[in-house]
Symmetry: C2
């Protein structure tokens, strides 16, 4: 790590835009850092690809961020964490934090603090097909003594990326028929998931796109008469990174964060869609070629 | 081309599974050929990527099929045809046929044969975001003297790939709530498109995934009281390939086609999802690595 006089450089990696929800949570927690974000947009989505392909893409992306000066790397992508965290750690000499362990820990805390823990209560994880197939969340949660049910929700990422949401980006209007489609898709997925896990008390959002769906998930659960505590792994990961950084090097707190963004495909699309996820305008996006 | 004693080898390329609808249409038309199909599944979807990235991926895929012995290449992918046909033709010494020109020609024939051609009638093209942004269909149709409106429908490919259809694959059951979601998404897209093109008489399916949606598109148009002639560019392309082959080398007709399949990602997924598009079981899928 750098000395306290130099800002710490935190590399944040995702296959696309979703990891910007982790960066969004990091900015207020570690405002004095320098951030380098890489979205491997030319090769997204990772969620539907095989382990070998995902590991190859993720390691080359992580190496790029290390070459750009990252002191610490956040794998802000559930699929890459589930399938490639060990490969990335083996390839790089810097600390690497994924999203799954922090998400599982936060779900454990929520389940423990629950006022009415049922003896057969369990955690429901919503994620992409590849994350679910890896069973990485089940392994992490089982190690913490929690029953887990995982549900693959492949249509949610495209719906979020198309902005079919009740809480659209600034400059767009809410189109009720479009957000109603997303609500119905969520209702279908949650109905199927709760049939398999009727006693689930905690819902873990196992994809960094899903925080944008949180209000809609809450209202859908309400309409299904099944309220749950919702855990956002993006927020949980940012907390873990902040604790790691605070332990390693006390950081000044009065400096504005510096963010640099890299994408492997269209810079314009990254700026437009990314601001949606980051919650603020995105500037300084650089195009890079990682081959392939 | 090969001599009549040797079967002609036709290479068929798509970013994923959709091109199998073109192969499906080719098999009965040219049964004596040998077919090599490549789905660049590790790098799909092409539809949301930039021109430079798509051209790089498509050229490397086309080169692979040529190396495997293709005498003729079919670019069974609207996005790759729209953005990379010239690059592929420049890179290969064999005939290359894309899907856009045959689709446009078939739409022209349909519009000409229409019994009640209105003076301001026009063609409506449904396609991926990248195909629409390329305006390749507008250019091809305008050259034929036809008014054209293009509509990007980014959610249709994921919905087809998830099988949320009223006509599911064998071994799966029809889930009415899921196909109702797809019907509502189609209704939203078609309502927006027809608001922009109220006099459209011909609908051109500008993505090789869309033939699987044809019955649902027909019923949606009926419910919108706007019947149209639907042109499937997969079928039109197969007809063009058959004419080209018949002109070049008379083929024996009594032989069963031989098909070999290559994919750049999961062979299991390709077999499972691909049989949906091909309309018959898929065997002999080989995994290849094109880098990236």
């Amino acid at each position: 790590m750098t000395t306290p006089s130099q800002p710490l450089t935190i590399g944040v990696f995702d296959s696309g835009f979703g990891g910007l929800t982790v960066l969004r949570a990091l900015l207020p927690l570690i405002p004095a850092a320098r951030y380098i974000y890489l979205g491997d947009t030319a090769r997204l989505p990772y969620g539907s690809k095989s382990r070998e392909t995902i590991a190859r893409y993720a390691v080359s992306s992580a190496r790029f961020l290390h070459q750009q000066g990252a002191d610490l790397l956040v794998i802000a992508c559930n699929t890459a964490t589930a399938l490639a965290l060990d490969d990335i750690r083996a390839a790089l000499p810097i600390p690497v934090i994924g999203v799954i362990q922090p998400g599982a820990q936060a779900a454990h805390t929520a389940a423990t603090l629950s006022r009415n823990p049922q003896p057969d209560s369990s955690i429901l994880v919503l994620a992409t097909a590849a994350t679910v197939q890896s069973h990485a969340y089940t392994q992490a949660l089982t190690a913490l003594g929690l029953n887990t049910t995982e549900k693959a929700c492949p249509l949610l990422v495209p719906l979020v990326e198309e902005g079919w949401l009740p809480n659209p980006v600034p400059d767009t209007t809410h189109e009720p028929r479009k957000s109603a489609v997303t609500a119905e898709v969520l209702r279908i997925y949650l109905t199927e998931a709760l049939a398999a896990a009727p006693h689930a008390t905690t819902l873990l959002l196992g994809c960094t796109h899903y925080p944008l769906l949180k209000p809609l998930i809450e209202s859908t659960l309400q309409s299904l008469h099944h309220p749950m505590t919702i855990i956002d792994s993006a927020e949980a990961t940012a907390q873990t990174v902040a604790q790691t950084v605070a332990q390693a090097t006390p950081q000044p707190t009065s400096i504005t964060p510096i963010c640099t963004f890299y994408a492997t495909d269209s810079v314009e699309k990254f700026q437009q869609l990314g601001s949606h996820f980051l919650g603020q305008p995105l500037t300084q996006v650089h195009l890079i070629d990682l081959g392939g």
